[in-house]
Symmetry: C2
Subunit: 343 residues, 2 copies
């Protein structure tokens, strides 16, 4: 599935290139353009509009051999809604651009759409438009989600300060482990001890409620979602905030089933946790003295678990401290063009 693009530079450098080509200076109504989880547009009454688009491509982001149609429809919603959650927003409307191969069966498409529409309803999102085209070479799901957030609540990737704690929600690496198990043809029926790993890859959950809680807490300085792995995502947050970060490997939240699967497959669970991607938890920075209050706030709201995995530094880049040794890990997560890198 990983198909290194020899002729093209990395995803990050393509995006940097696009940014550098855009006209200087802001546009009327534009609060934040490329560089965050969502574009941010000014609306009346102290409201901001959030806009994000994410594409799932057959053979890159999913494989029809093991991805049930219904769950794929749900995932196309979740990965987009996650970007709204990442900024503390409320998702509102969606557009679906659907590229359909000629070989797709009508019943399979029905399941896909049923999952897509059910997930939209769960997140309170209304499908308002889209485009349906042929796609000779494979299924493509391109979704745009619009959301909103109060101007005094929105959280960006920038805003973290040296000394802030670096936090993540949920466990890391489960989706990456699940993908590897699916690829290996491992059956993970409900009740299997590793079933949560498969589920994390097949049916991720966007953390809208947690995003709102953190955004309205007044205790969080910067936030984004975990989509490309902690090593890459934290590097983005650090770069936009003008800080560095140090992560303590011992603090990374790893599920028991992840450790067990890693042992049996002869893998290092840290690889999955740092570079795997698709966690769709939230990554955020908060002042050190807010730690106890934050944990209590989230616990009282019914979770999910949040973990402090390190802290921001006055330097740059991301350093992992593991068994007393330091490694630079910035941007060593998933890149769509160069493939995964090992930390």
């Amino acid at each position: 599935m990983v198909n290194i693009m020899k002729s093209l530079p990395s995803e990050r450098s393509i995006i940097d290139d696009i940014r550098s080509r855009l006209p200087d200076g802001g546009a009327a109504g534009l609060v934040r353009g490329i560089g965050d989880d969502c574009a941010v547009l000014a609306r009346a009454g102290g409201l901001l509009e959030l806009a994000t688009t994410d594409t799932l491509v057959e053979g890159v982001h999913f494989d029809l051999a093991w991805h049930p149609a219904h769950l794929l429809g749900r995932k196309a919603v979740a990965v987009n809604v996650s970007d709204i959650a990442a900024m503390g927003g409320i998702p509102r409307f969606a557009l679906l651009a659907l590229g359909l191969p000629a070989t797709l069966a009508k019943a399979w498409l029905d399941d896909l759409l049923a999952g897509f529409i059910a997930a939209l309803a769960e997140y309170g999102v209304v499908l308002v438009g889209g485009d349906t085209v042929r796609s000779p070479a494979g299924l493509v799901l391109s979704v745009t989600v619009l959301g909103e957030v109060a101007a005094d609540e929105v959280l960006y990737r920038h805003g973290a300060s040296p000394g802030d704690g670096v936090w993540v929600s949920g466990c890391l690496g489960a989706a990456a482990a699940g993908l590897e198990l699916c690829r290996g043809g491992r059956a993970l029926p409900a009740g299997h001890p590793w079933a949560p790993l498969g589920r994390a890859h097949l049916d991720p959950v966007a953390q809208v409620r947690l995003g709102r809680l953190l955004a309205t807490s007044g205790m969080v300085r910067a936030m984004m979602d975990l989509s490309d792995g902690l090593a890459t995502d934290l590097a983005h947050l650090c770069k936009e905030s003008g800080v560095g970060a140090e992560v303590d490997a011992a603090c990374l939240p790893l599920a028991d089933e992840l450790r067990q699967a890693a042992r049996e497959l002869g893998r290092d669970p840290l690889d999955w946790a740092l570079a795997g991607g698709e966690d769709y938890g939230l990554l955020f920075a908060a002042p050190a003295d807010a730690a106890e209050k934050l944990v209590r706030l989230v616990a009282e709201a019914g979770g999910p678990v949040i973990s402090r995995v390190g802290y921001c530094t006055a330097g740059s880049g991301v350093v992992l401290v593991h068994q007393g040794r330091e490694r630079h890990i910035a941007y060593q997560g998933y890149d769509h063009f160069t493939g995964p890198a090992r930390p």
Copy 2:
């Protein structure tokens, strides 16, 4: 290029199916969902937001063998901005989801992005976000454009009344003829008498200025853009308005070079004009007594030419009157799944 999907129903029936699965009743802030050129969302101060998404897929909508990268970038903008123009709106912001095959050369991508960004600037649109992914089987450009329009100016597909004139802007069929010439390997350098046909396919222009003029004229009752051919697009406008239409073949605006190319290739120019698609002019309905004033208004504003091609009836469906005979032509334009149909 036309690849009939045996296993899937038509694009129209897929969209109807999606509409039928959505929850009944409106959502807060939603003025108009699926079924028009754009979704329409309520904003403060008498403003409406318009949102549209359109996808171009390699091998379906374009062929890299003859589509220059720069012009393809421009086209990806124009086909989306055209949907904003179709409702009388002003395009404001864009998101670009780019699926890139591994074989794409960096220089080619640079040209594509340069064309994309230049066209955005011409329409006054700002790129605010997007997604960049690998696409193993071919280039995919999925663009979302957000725009705005005053609530008392917006034009929908519904609103036409029996007796209204049916109008189109520009000439019909040029893009379809250009596509056929490109497919046939016909060189159409600048200065070639048929060059405008190739240009119409490769580098269409969205009619934003005309859309604004018509929307603010107070003389137009219903409007949409011409993307799937007059036969299909007018059928949509009629269905949403609850009217029928009669089109006079003798009134269809056909460019001289289109007639000439049709003669030389042994084709019926009406096929291109009715079923070809990708004209990206505007299709609109206006009361019969507004005809003279409309023509004068548009001419004084510097064009483009608008032509009355027929009128709305109290029936349903679309009838073409050609050399004294009538043919039903509703929905006989381009469908992404069943391919083109001959009227």
